[in-house]
């Protein structure tokens, strides 16, 4: 089987459009996931049992079911609930809810890593709870979390091909469409794989570099 370089080159712009959609979904989904993760992590540490239980239930449900099926449910259930969103937003919500459950665990670990003395000092100085969180706990918890968040960002990027199942025109969908129209599978899928590598390998190296620097 030959690899047609001219054809491969000719489909790059179309695939690049898909890549842009992918990046857009990942960035928005990641922001949502970080917010969800933070909320869930704080809920896990709440003094109220109901809130702790609810967030534990959320975490274990979202972490024990496949993202793809979650996306299907969201895609079909949201319109039934009277919420019609473009597929892209459904994808962002799906990624955000799913990865939020993972990031929550990382946040919780990082928050618990803040020494107890810091909490006690905040109480001794009569800080109210939101000041304690904003000025004392979170700034200390966030720094060691950066590499972890980076890994989730890359993980998320690699999960985006799934969004094709709910009709989002991202990179994988674009490659599939080209393959379906031209009956050439080699070039679209190879170029797609290279695009994935071109983004995920440098990003992973970047985060490794940041991690090493933050240790020194």
């Amino acid at each position: 089987m030959n690899f047609d370089y001219a054809f491969a080159w000719s489909i790059v712009p179309e695939l690049f459009q898909g890549l842009l959609v992918t990046v857009q979904v990942v960035v928005l989904g990641f922001l949502l996931a970080v917010v969800m993760g933070l909320v869930l992590a704080i809920a896990q540490l709440s003094a109220m049992t109901v809130i702790r239980r609810a967030s534990s239930g959320y975490l274990s449900f979202f972490r024990n079911t496949p993202l793809m099926v979650q996306l299907y449910v969201l895609f079909f259930a949201l319109p039934l609930a009277g919420i019609t969103l473009p597929a892209l937003s459904t994808g962002v919500i799906g990624l955000g809810l799913y990865y939020g459950a993972y990031i929550a665990e990382a946040f919780r670990g990082a928050i618990e890593g803040v020494p107890k003395g810091q909490w006690e000092a905040a109480r001794a100085l009569d800080f109210d709870s939101s000041t304690t969180w904003q000025r004392i706990v979170l700034p200390q918890a966030l720094k060691p979390m950066l590499p972890v968040l980076g890994n989730y960002l890359i993980g998320m990027f690699k999960e985006t091909p799934l969004l094709a199942v709910i009709t989002i025109p991202e990179l994988f969908q674009a490659a599939k469409q080209i393959a379906g129209m031209t009956y050439r599978y080699n070039e679209p899928y190879t170029v797609m794989a290279l695009m994935f590598l071109a983004i995920s390998v440098p990003t992973s190296l970047l985060f490794k570099y940041i991690e090493r620097r933050s240790h020194v």
């Binding site: 024990n64 496949p66 099926v69 299907y72 259930a77």
Partner: protein, 226 residues
Amino acid sequence: MFIDPSAVETARFIAGQLAHGALVTLQITFFAQIVVVVMSFVIALMRLSPWRAVRWVATVYVEILRGISALVLLFYLFFILPLFGISLSPMTTGVLGLGLTFSAYGSEIVRSALSNVSQGQRDALRALDFDSVTAFRRIVLPQALPFMLPPMGNQLVELLKTTSLVSLITLTDLTFAGGQLITTLGQQTLIWSIVLVCYFVMAWPLSWLVKRYELRVTAWRQGNTV
């Protein structure tokens, strides 16, 4: 409440289809996990090898497989390999694709657990003149295993969930069965929700076991070091 016999019939039909799909899902998970364990150890040992070329090959393996997503690899194996005259059955493609992808992560788990075994233990092995196979089997592996098993278990849960991808390469797993039911019955939200619950029922006990084991290991480790 009045129970409609046709509703019972439909429910039984749905249950049968999903049970069959769930069985395929478990099968793929099982075989892929074998690939994961074998390849994780091979690659981890290669990465700890004294020869630079071997280390380098293993690093490239890990970086590439971690850089491409599982679905992309599956499609690559499914659509591109036949063009080179290598035709794998969907089952083999699924098992290999998922097994290789997860082994890239698994090898990191194995590697870090193996390098966790202390230098003193290694020195003792040399002093006692153990050959390397005995040393690995009797001393290094038993000490590394408690570090390895919890993350490996979590990874197994991830693998179980990720097998849903194989529905896209025509394997009749749980997700595929759900899709088929929807083409015959409609009811997308209901059926996808049932499928979601099925996955949860399979994955949750595993997660629970991992958590329990992790607590025990942590307790053991703290008892040991304090």
